[in-house]
Subunit: 233 residues, 2 copies
């Protein structure tokens, strides 16, 4: 034992990874505890802790107090994906960005939205339909509901200049958000707005964000055919 050349948490992490990959430690196995590993690696326990904590965060190890650390049995892989602002996404591809507001109104939301946003029945919300274009071609359109009670200042904002999303990101802090990703079949409305055929499969992101218990906004982004969201582990 006591190799003694492990003097950074990254090197400890690499060695632990190596052992997992080499199946010296198999899925489900308990690995030695921090104190033992610290002795073996010739470093402080805090260094081992740092390495193992990072691996646990990425889902490769399961750690529980008193129980110990084990190699994940069913490694629920955690992919982290960046939720970009659409303008940056388009500009990042070297295309020119433009957006137009198709409709803007105050209206009582349909019951699905009303429930999702947890507002009382009959309350009017801001309803905004916008189209984002890349090099002049439809890229994605957003059907968005905003709760004005949760967004001071929204009434005064000119959302034709900055998109609603950008305005909200810049002006309203938020605690969290729900995302769901799915596919829909293009109906007449989607086909017209996105200039695609009826019956095409379209990628959809539904998102709501909230702050201090209030749902700020709920939006459905419907992307033009061919859109891909990409990520790596």
């Amino acid at each position: 034992m006591s190799g003694g050349e492990f003097n950074s948490w990254q090197s400890v992490q690499a060695e632990v990874l190596r052992r997992i990959n080499a199946r010296e430690w198999k899925p489900g196995d308990f690995i030695p505890n921090e104190a033992e590993l610290a002795i073996e690696f010739g470093c402080a326990r805090a260094t081992v802790n740092r390495a193992l904590r990072a691996l646990a965060e990425s889902g490769l190890l399961d750690r529980r107090r008193k129980a110990g650390t084990r190699v994940s049995l069913n490694p629920v892989r955690k992919a982290t994906l960046d939720i970009p602002v659409i303008r940056y996404e388009i500009e990042g591809k070297g295309q020119t960005y433009r957006h137009t507001v198709l409709t803007q109104e105050r209206a009582v939301p349909p019951s699905g939205i009303q429930a999702r946003m947890q507002v009382e029945q009959g309350i009017k919300l801001i309803h905004l339909v916008t189209l984002h274009l890349a090099d002049g071609k439809p890229y994605v359109f957003g059907d968005r509901w905003i709760n004005p009670a949760a967004v001071p200042g929204i009434e005064a904002a000119d959302l034709t200049v900055k998109s609603a999303n950008e305005w909200l990101v810049a002006n309203i802090p938020f605690e969290g958000g729900d995302f769901s990703f799915s596919a829909i079949t293009a109906g007449p409305r989607e086909a017209e707005i996105l200039a695609c055929k009826e019956g095409e499969g379209l990628f959809v992101i539904d998102r709501s964000t909230w702050n201090k218990g209030l749902v700020i906004t709920s939006v459905r982004l419907t992307f033009a055919p061919g859109y891909q969201m990409h990520t790596k582990i």
Copy 2:
């Protein structure tokens, strides 16, 4: 100054978050350095470091040596999503899981797969089409290519018992993976396998995983209509 009640990195993190949300520190602003915050909060610099590091990892702060720490200008929100094993996903909903192998063959892959998997032209790979069912109904089907050179033992495995994915997860370590999410329009083949109508929008995950420079497997999962992938920030 020197409030002095911040004695855990979580409480420091909460206070920093509060200041960001309250716009005491605005996007783009530099915040005081670790040493100053440690004095103000009445804790050790390591504690401040732990709190700020976590916030930086989640994308809310930008940190650079010597330059300092600032509130992110365009907070690229990072959502982490769990990539589940399909069986667990189905069983987690209380449904019964079953899977069938539709076809299994060794074949030269089409050029797209061949390029993606970085194998030489003309090399035969294992091609596997499987259908996963929830409560007897089609849930998702997988069109998978496996590089046998990267997967010792796959020839001997009986993939009709355990699904290919489960077998691979349990037996072959991997370093990383590419994921992409998109929507397709159901053609005759998809409609038949998934028992849906032609022309419906279907959610699709394309994934390849690799280890030691070799692409192990590349799979396209095509989900039955209505599938949603969910995540929170």
